[in-house]
Symmetry: C2
């Protein structure tokens, strides 16, 4: 049985001022006007399993919003982290709830805020990964074919030998690597044996529990305690106490970089992590002047500019490569090259105690 776990605890501050503490990226309708990123993610994976089997890893802050966006997901399937502790802890917590409900479950770990264009191809790739994961204690990941020397993603280096599963090439992973510098990224692209790390992982719940025991024994011990507490009056209290002790470690660093028997399946289903405002240029329709416009805009001599309106008419003259975002209480206007650094603006707002704008 496929038991997806959607990772939805992120704050997505790079879409400020549209994204906020209480409205992170997964809740935004960035690509599809009618569906938030997380709604699209659930819709997509629900083609492979019932809503009752879909789990959402999130934090207490987002539980209410999650129920608004995903009324079809049972509230018990929200695995609520008492505090942010990176992906190893999130996946660990989810694994014990899934284990309890479906000991034979096959976890499909999915980011909640990525764009996938070709749904059929994506589902087909996931099914191949599920088959590989089910055949032993394999850790499987889906890697994205790199199109340029991106320095914003981690990379997966794989061995050229492969097996075929349902028409998909399945490679053995040689190494997970952190975000490279430009030079390294260019070497990766040239080598032809690197894929982008999409954050999509597939494994049996029993397998990942074994891996935690093997490579993250401290986390495993906490998970055991938490699992025993599920259903008791002390559940929340014990989870909080154990969570507090956990290290802030990603699943990549804690497991994937250490484990053996890791396989990667290349995915070519049109993927984008929509990491910051300029990503919209890759995935949205651009007008003749190269502008990406959402909302009411009138421009003269305006090129390659991203406008995200909020009701007011936004007028521009003589602009190029600018990002403009209007919201109820804040406006961002920045050079496109700076759009990745919008966190710095948030830091300044925080410094000045303007928490209501974060």
């Amino acid at each position: 049985m496929i038991t997806p776990i959607i990772m939805a605890g992120g704050v997505g501050s790079r879409f400020w001022p549209l994204s906020r503490k209480d409205r992170p990226k997964q809740f935004l309708n960035l690509v599809d006007k009618n569906r938030s990123m997380i709604q699209a993610t659930v819709d997509r994976i629900s083609k492979l399993t019932a809503h009752d089997n879909i789990f959402i890893a999130t934090s207490q802050d987002y539980v209410e919003k999650m129920q608004e966006h995903l009324p079809e997901i049972p509230v018990d399937n929200l695995t609520v982290e008492p505090m942010r502790k990176n992906t190893a802890a999130s996946i660990g917590l989810a694994s014990i709830y899934i284990e309890q409900k479906s000991p034979e479950g096959i976890m499909v770990v999915l980011p909640s805020d990525h764009l996938i264009i070709d749904e059929a191809s994506f589902l087909d790739t996931v099914e191949a990964a599920v088959e590989v994961a089910d055949n032993g204690d394999n850790l499987v990941t889906i890697g994205i074919e790199a199109t340029h020397p991106e320095t914003g993603y981690g990379y997966i280096n794989y061995d050229k030998k492969y097996i075929q599963v349902n028409g998909h090439e399945v490679f053995e992973v040689k190494a997970f690597t952190e975000k490279p510098n430009r030079e390294k990224a260019e070497r990766f692209l040239e080598a032809g044996t690197y894929l982008w790390n999409s954050g999509i992982f597939v494994w049996k719940v029993s397998t990942i529990r074994k891996m935690f025991k093997l490579y993250m024994p401290k986390l495993d011990k906490s998970l055991e305690k938490m699992k025993e507490a599920i259903g008791t009056a002390e559940e929340a209290e014990i989870i909080r106490a154990e969570f507090e002790k956990l290290d802030d470690i990603s699943i990549d660093y804690g497991i994937m970089e250490k484990a053996k028997d890791i396989y990667v399946i290349p995915g070519s289903f049109g993927w984008d992590d929509i990491g910051s405002w300029p990503a919209l240029e890759r995935v949205q329709k651009r007008d003749k002047q190269g502008n990406v416009i959402s909302g009411h805009h009138i421009g003269i001599d305006t090129k390659n500019t991203i406008v995200h309106g909020n009701g007011k008419i936004i007028t521009t003259m003589g602009l190029e490569d600018i990002v403009i975002v209007d919201t109820d209480d804040a406006i961002l206007i920045c050079d496109k090259k700076k759009a990745q650094e919008v966190k710095e603006i948030r830091n300044l707002l925080a410094d000045r105690g303007l928490d209501e704008c974060l």
Copy 2:
């Protein structure tokens, strides 16, 4: 008796989106946060005469707003033009009302939306002009010492011979010239016998009536009919009928370029016509990065940029030489070099029937 007439019929579209059809530039607090341009103009000239003697030339559309801004001015002193017909008609209409109330009045024609920094020097210069105007049928104007070859203003060419009045040099005017091209403006500046035309004129009301009779007989005839109608039941009707017939001619073209006995007094009281958004850089405090900020702003790597906020926090990153104006229903973001062309945006809005934004 000094009877100022403040020219306040203009639409000032170059400050869109802050200025609107129903809120032109003279009603904006562009320079002084607490006083609109027209309030500052009235305050200034009221040092020389009672509020009861100050007249305001405006149009029906602005009467209500004028009373809000200038409760101290008697409503009868608003000389209301039934339609826009340029400055000769405005001054003509004002002249008959002033003539009726103060036949000995000395008109001081003042733009309603210019900045004057040194009030004492300005008033002193006006008093000298009044003295010259009172001494015969002289037309007197105050010219601004040119600091650069500006192509946006008309120029006044004067004869080098002068007389002294109360410490002011009074020159005879050789010619009024329209806005020059760059080359011509540079020649004017070099010659040293040209001043900028400030639109400030001083003359006895009886003198300007004589000039209308001499140089604009058609206007004079209409003024006579309108004057006879004042106080009758047909006043509004006759003024409208006569106004409709009038030519669209400026006082410069209709009188000043033709009349003799015109004198100019150089003014050096810190003058600016605040013609468009970038003018604020000349008259407002700039921060260390050269930005002129009004409202709530947080910027990173933002230089020589003008921000006019409206409550929302405006955040900027990696911008240079940009104008940003937020209002309740429209936002303008434009290259500073384009700020003079904001009318083009208004034209596009009008084309699309977005009259509520004009």
